[in-house]
């Protein structure tokens, strides 16, 4: 079967089996290997991409269900020599060790900051209806779908906080 996607602003067509996940379509069919396969069960977040601007686990989604969707992967954010704010912040704060979870962390954080700016509450928010300051606890809760096996969490949170400050 054939599925039309817009990936990082470019129209792409993928020919694939019905059981091909969005993750496998990106990595194995479009050679966009920045998006990583960790657990392949939605537990680690390494495969996080944006679908129509919202973060999702690309491993838990069928490519066929994304016909017409806009996908953003880590390759769409910046590139060596022209990193975006969040990528720059991860470098500055040393927000990784082995780096395998990093693309997923950055994609997830990209959407998370947008959610927080829109006033979406989280599990740890004091109030559901007031404004949400992006505290360390808020960042940790909102990023809990992204695991880091090297446990670089403190620096990941610092990098995200730094990027949030720069943007606001």
């Amino acid at each position: 079967m054939k599925t039309d996607l817009t990936v990082n602003g470019e129209a792409r067509q993928v020919e694939h089996e019905s059981r091909t996940t969005l993750l496998d379509a990106l990595r194995d069919h479009l050679d966009l290997t920045g998006t990583k396969k960790g657990c392949d069960h939605g537990q680690c977040g390494a495969c996080t991409v944006l679908v129509n601007g919202r973060r999702v686990n690309s491993c838990l989604s069928l490519a066929a269900m994304h016909d017409g969707d806009e996908i953003t992967t880590i390759e769409g954010l910046g590139e060596p020599g022209a990193l975006n704010t969040l990528q720059e912040a991860f470098v500055n704060k040393d927000g990784y060790q082995c780096g395998y979870c990093t693309p997923g962390q950055i994609m997830s954080a990209t959407a998370m900051l947008e959610e927080a700016r829109d006033g979406a509450p989280s599990h740890v928010s004091e109030t559901l209806t007031g404004s949400v300051p992006l505290t360390d606890a808020e960042i940790a809760e909102r990023m809990s779908g992204n695991l880091c096996r090297c446990s670089a969490y403190p620096f990941i949170r610092e990098a995200i906080a730094m990027s949030a400050e720069k943007k606001s």
Partner: protein, 340 residues
């Protein structure tokens, strides 16, 4: 994953017409695809209903709210009407899964998600839910996450949803469309079946029925609502126990107490006796302790999870304290705003 036929439904009739014992509906897919990768589920056909019109909206219905079955968990938790008038629902959803999963998981799919019992998830283990008549490896196995109410000799699995526990405390109803195009409405207690000797049958839905919406009744003025979840990690973990409370005080007495419990039963659990004990009484520690004892009196824990009983009692007491003002509210307890 085993190969399957993918079909994209254009209308509800089209979707219903494609459903039989060998087919499964897919919407968010966050649970179904996980199970298909493990070959715990292996449908021959997957019917994609995400393009169906009109199922992705939250709209007013009478004085209540109608939540389309395809509304995502994020969309529902973030909705301003839900946050101010039904805060226990936002809190329950935000206590579950991760940001990525909530963006994908739908309202209907959340209700119909399968248990996370590790023996159900492992095709090498005996499981009556996966393979009727095969036996239950959980009985002699590791039982930390299993249910303590409503279980049977054939199945000890717990329903994993947080959202459904919040909905139960709100007396939500589920709208179901039958293949003859008629719709029926079910209370959550009418949607879910207890395992008995057929743990493979989890709901009262026919194979070709589709959940189209969840309907919330008119919001209760002046209610205090709370969702408190206890789990092994601070985030992104299923409940050991959870309690949803929806409590109204009038003249210093409890006028109404709707309580639901998660992580402890094959469906969002309730106990009418506990609520009857509370209604008409002034909030009081001794009363709460008595209610909590009544709640766990008929529990049947596994040898590994008797700890859930005192944990559930303490969690219920904590919710009641905050909901009635005996203790200051912590995040998770919210006073409802009056409807505009």
């Amino acid at each position: 994953m085993k190969e399957f036929t993918y079909a994209r439904a254009e209308t509800l009739d089209d979707a219903a017409g494609q459903l039989d014992e060998t087919a499964r509906v897919i919407a968010g897919g966050t649970n179904l695809l996980d199970l298909m990768k493990l070959q715990v589920m292996a449908p021959e056909k997957v019917v994609d209903i995400t393009r169906l019109p009109d199922l992705s909206e939250i709209s007013a219905e009478g004085e209540g709210l109608r939540i389309g079955a395809l509304v995502t968990n994020s969309q529902l938790a973030e909705d301003h009407r839900v946050r101010s008038l039904y805060p226990v629902l936002s809190r329950a959803i935000l206590a579950g899964a991760s940001g990525q999963i909530r963006n994908k998981a739908t309202t209907g799919g959340n209700l119909l998600q399968r248990t996370r019992c590790p023996y159900f998830y492992d095709p090498a283990m005996a499981c009556n839910k996966r393979d009727p008549g095969a036996g239950c490896a959980a009985k002699e196995g590791v039982g930390r996450m299993l249910a303590v109410f409503g279980v049977s000799d054939d199945c000890l699995a717990a329903h994993p949803s947080d959202m459904a526990v919040g909905l139960r405390a709100l007396d939500a109803e589920v709208e179901v469309r039958s293949p003859d195009s008629s719709t029926r409405r079910l209370k959550l207690d009418e949607l879910y079946r207890l395992p008995g000797d057929r743990p493979d049958l989890e709901t009262t839905l026919a194979v070709d029925e589709i959940i189209t919406a969840v309907v919330l009744p008119a919001p209760e003025k002046g209610a205090v609502q709370a969702y408190r979840k206890v789990r092994d990690r601070a985030s992104y973990a299923f409940a050991l126990v959870s309690v949803a409370g929806n409590v109204t005080l009038t003249d210093g007495k409890i006028a109404r107490a709707k309580l639901a419990y998660g992580g402890v039963a094959p469906k969002p659990w309730t106990n009418a006796k506990v609520e009857e004990m509370l209604v008409g009484q002034a909030p009081d520690e001794a009363l709460f302790r008595k209610a909590a004892e009544a709640l766990t009196a008929d529990a049947t824990p596994h040898s590994d999870n008797a700890f859930k009983l005192p944990m559930l009692r303490r969690t219920l007491i904590a919710v009641l304290r905050e909901a009635t003002g005996l203790a200051d509210a912590s995040p998770g307890t919210d006073k409802t705003k009056d409807a505009a």
